[in-house]
Symmetry: C2
Subunit: 161 residues, 2 copies
C-alpha cells in the first residue's frame, strides 16, 4: 500500500485542521447567536429557496445531503420550535411535506446575517481571487471523485445481489 509522503502529510493535516476549525467556528457562531446547528440552518435555507417554501422530505434530504432519518429528527425539532410545519402530500399518501413558517423565515433572516458575515470573514476575506478560483475547482474535483465513488459502491451492491 502507498503511504503519504511527508509533503502530502503536511497538506493533509493543514487541510483537516483548517476545515475542522472553520466548521467548528461557524457551528458555534450559529448555535450561540441563533440557537441552531449549521445542519438545521441549511434546512431552513433549502426550504426558503424552494417554491412555496416547501419541499418533500426526501427532496429536502437530497438537497441537504442528509439521511432521511437525520432529517426526520431535525424537522421534528424545527417543528417544535415553530419554524417548520409538516403537511400531508396530496399526490402520495406516504409523503410528508415540510413548510417553512413565517416565524421560521424571520429566524432564518436573523441567523443569515451573522452566518454570512462569519463565512465572509473567515473564508472569502482571507483568500485571493485566484485562490478562490482554485478552491472552486478543487471542491468540484473532490465532489466529482466522491460521486463516481458512490456510483461504484452502488454498482458493487448491485453486483452482490
Amino acid at each position: 500500500m502507498r503511504w503519504l509522503s511527508a509533503e502530502e502529510q503536511q497538506v493533509w493535516r493543514a487541510f483537516m485542521t483548517a476545515v475542522t476549525k472553520f466548521t467548528e467556528h461557524l457551528d458555534r457562531q450559529l448555535q450561540r447567536d441563533s440557537g441552531m446547528p449549521m445542519a438545521y440552518y441549511e434546512i431552513l435555507v433549502a426550504l426558503s429557496e424552494a417554491p412555496e417554501r416547501s419541499l418533500r422530505m426526501s427532496e429536502l434530504a437530497a438537497v441537504c445531503h442528509s439521511s432521511r432519518s437525520r432529517l426526520s429528527h431535525a424537522v421534528a425539532r424545527l417543528e417544535k420550535e415553530g419554524w417548520v410545519e409538516r403537511q400531508a402530500c396530496p399526490s402520495d399518501r406516504r409523503g410528508s411535506i415540510a413548510v417553512l413558517t413565517d416565524v421560521g423565515f424571520g429566524v432564518l433572516e436573523q441567523a443569515a446575517a451573522g452566518h454570512v458575515t462569519a463565512v465572509r470573514e473567515h473564508l472569502f476575506d482571507v483568500l485571493t481571487p485566484e485562490q478562490l478560483r482554485s478552491l472552486a475547482e478543487i471542491s468540484q474535483a473532490v465532489d466529482a471523485g466522491l460521486t463516481t465513488e458512490c456510483a461504484k459502491v452502488r454498482r458493487e451492491e448491485f453486483a452482490d445481489l
Copy 2:
C-alpha cells in the same frame, strides 16, 4: 451588511458540499472497517507519534483540536476497548496521562491502511500537483484567519473583565 455574490455563493456551496461528503465518507469508512469515528482515530495517531506513545490529556486535546470534555469522554471509550490506558502524572497530581497500548497500536496500524487509501483515493488522486499546492496555501490562510480570530476573541473576553 454585505451578502455573497452569485459567484461567491457558488464557490461556497461547492466547498461545503465537497467537505461534507468527503469527511462523511472518511468517517463512515473508518467506522465500518475499524469501529471508530475519525476523531478517535486522530487520538490514536497523536498518541502513536508522541514519545513513549503517551501524552497528557491537555496536550492531547491541543494536538487533536479537541475540548477537554470531549477528549475525556473519548479516552474513556478507548480505554474500555483496551486501546489506551490512563496513568497518573508524577509531576502534577491533577494530571492524567493517556498511553497507547500495544493492542491499540495494532488496531491503529490496521485502521491506517484503509484510511490512508481512502484519503489518497478521494483527495490526492483527484487533484493535480498544482491544485495540491493551492490547497496547502488556502488551508494555511484559513487557519491563520481563524487563529487571529481566536486571539481577538480572547482579547475581547479579557477586555470584559
